[in-house]
Symmetry: C2
Subunit: 112 residues, 2 copies
Amino acid sequence: MAAKDTLSLIFAALADPTRRNILTRLSQRAATVGEIAEPFGISAPAISQHLKVLERAGLIERTANAQWRTLKIRTEPLDEASAWVEKHRREWNLRFDAMEEHLKTMNSEEEQ
Amino acid sequence: MAAKDTLSLIFAALADPTRRNILTRLSQRAATVGEIAEPFGISAPAISQHLKVLERAGLIERTANAQWRTLKIRTEPLDEASAWVEKHRREWNLRFDAMEEHLKTMNSEEEQ
DNA sequence: TCCTTAATTAAGAATATTCTTAATTATGCA
DNA sequence: TGCATAATTAAGAATATTCTTAATTAAGGA
């Protein structure tokens, strides 16, 4: 498997509803794997694999307490994802505004 | 293939560096498929397939002019992705602040 | 020590993704 | 009409993702 860049890992991690659901719940409180797994109709290993994807993207942190793992969300990757999206949104809107302006100018020149 | 929700389609579309590169360039100016394909070392069909993924996520719009297709970025899905990310970032930060506050309180109670 | 609980790792199946080359569609122009 | 150009669709290969069940690791408690 070709090593993926961070942003790709982050967006790929966010591309699954189960993983987004996990993050939603972790954004409200830290939890153990068991607590996180509970509402899903899938096996424990499946959850464990989802957690691995989230961890690889830096979106969660696991800390071991006895046989329990406490899961905590991390916001840095969310910041990174947000920065990418905002940058492109902003740039496109700039272009778009410039274009609108241009069209307006053209129209008023036509009217003369 | 199970029909995917919009947010999953958007994040999945953003999870590929080639597709992000395409969006970056389209955020600067609209372009034809050929112009977009040019700098990549991959075949035209591969680009066409990436465009299909972007289109399915609503991230681009194709309009036909003769045998050319003009590609334009669309910002609604970026807004949607951004909203999700911001919401979770905000919620986690709230929790985090509350936790910090709680720890501070506990510490000062201990000190007494 | 033995059993239970929490979680992960291993192996394998089903499906999805991402690329390739070849064929096809659609348009413009000599 | 016939050829060149732009792009897509089709088919297939390689690889990645997402799940399953079975086995394993690790800790706590009777």
